[in-house]
Symmetry: C2
């Protein structure tokens, strides 16, 4: 997805938020804002939002001298979600259609994103997403793909959300490989964060090989790219994976909650919409 | 008031909004965003927000080749408020304390600001502000000052809001001079806009002598500065007048609704708070 003009204010806002979460001084925050302005002047609008966010957050980590500004927030999110885990499992166990409920739960977990907004009510979101109609619903195609898949690659998004991902992965029959970030970026789950959510216990856990947000294939390791190529089905969670991988190919299914109005518009939906979208059949990433 | 780091994303957002309201093409919008980034890099944080907004909106008008991007929006706002005028007058006429109600109405009108947010419910805001406690309440000092004032200078803010200002001005005993902007900036009322609201019929109408937002005294005409100096009481409406004139002096009373969180924090209140604040007794602008 290209970068829209509306994304520019958001980069500034996010960088300032990250600098504050990392305990940056007023002077460091000022250096971050100044530096981000320079980054935005230099980077062309043909970069995807996560490519720009990558530069922006590298700058934040450098200026604030904190390699993982969101570390505390990520750990808290994972703990919060783990407390819900038994309730989430019970919902799936009691469902007529466990896959449908698990899919919805994994999308509900996508609210655990500190990029677009800092405050949200988690269980309230869960209940809403369980009842909400899909704005884009390619779940029939997803079921079909999963029925014959010998391998599923699951691209995680945020820490905490990973617990909801775990519930979905536990309902899948095919062997799943879970990919988390190779280093800290925003509140995205790194491999360490994924371990805290227990994902290593139920699937093979690999790294994208980079701390870039989403999946910028050119930035990923050769090992990750090979796994991406050979997967029968790719489940891509959240906005950044959509921004970097869309339009995708027919193996890719984007699962997300459209939290920002720009992404919602790109998807042809409203903000708050929940989406299961298959990648373009003609494409091959 | 100094410019806070949180203001930077807001300048970008506002500039983009203005470029779109003015019918700017995608290329013009892009030029605006690029230009604003340059302005923000160049201008120091010791500038007040309206000083930066002044530069930003000069750039928008230049790039989009539209001298008054908010013209249609301003005229619509004035017409909308004029339709409420009889209801506003009736509220004051039926009040036990007409000045209190008129003060509140003028502050309620401060919602008609296209800077912080484009959408609001006008009558709903009126009802809320009529019942809402003041977060800062120097209205007793204001009553005292008005009781002996031989001249009141009334600094308007936005088009449409001017109709609410008219209701307040009509309750004042002292002769009032109303100042509007010398040229278009955001949806601030120019003298033409003030005339559409009927302000010239009930007070002497003067211009600040500049199209800068708020009242940046160094940018105003000598004639305006003289009127500012000699006024016994200055009623300064809205955020931009607070941002440029605070801490002010004891003659100045800031009447506003704190719409943005940054200004709310500067005032020691919450966003949405309504405020009558006297300027610092020690100061003299």
């Amino acid at each position: 997805m290209k970068t829209y003009l509306d994304c520019y204010p958001c980069f500034l806002r996010q960088a300032l938020q990250a600098a504050r979460l990392a305990g940056g001084t007023e002077a460091q925050q000022q250096a971050v804002v100044g530096g981000v302005l320079e980054v935005l002047v230099q980077m062309g609008a043909d970069s995807t939002p996560p490519e720009i966010a990558d530069q922006v957050h590298q700058l934040v980590r450098r200026e604030v001298r904190n390699g993982d500004p969101y570390q505390t927030a990520k750990q808290a999110a994972t703990q919060q979600a783990l407390q819900l885990y038994p309730r989430l499992k019970a919902r799936v166990a009691g469902a007529d259609d466990p896959l449908e409920v698990a899919l919805r739960l994994s999308i509900a977990g996508n609210i655990m994103d500190l990029g677009p907004e800092l405050h949200y009510d988690l269980w309230d979101t869960v209940e809403r997403v369980l009842a909400q109609p899909f704005a884009v619903d390619d779940s029939a195609a997803l079921r079909q793909a999963l029925a014959t898949a010998r391998s599923v690659l699951y691209l995680t998004d945020n820490a905490g959300e990973t617990v909801f991902d775990r519930v979905l992965i536990e309902t899948l029959a095919a062997p799943v490989t879970v990919a988390a970030k190779g280093g800290p970026i925003l509140n995205d789950a790194t491999c360490n964060d994924a371990v805290e959510a227990g994902l290593d216990q139920i699937a093979e856990l690999i790294s994208t090989g980079t701390d870039a947000p989403g999946v910028i294939l050119s930035r990923c390791s050769d090992a990750f790219r090979a796994r991406f190529e050979e997967a029968d089905v790719v489940l891509a969670k959240g906005q950044a994976n959509y921004e970097t991988l869309s339009p995708g190919d027919a193996r890719v299914f984007f699962l997300l909650r459209a939290k920002c109005p720009v992404i919602a518009r790109d998807l042809g939906t409203e903000a708050g919409a929940i989406v299961v979208r298959q990648g373009d059949a003609g494409g091959r990433l």
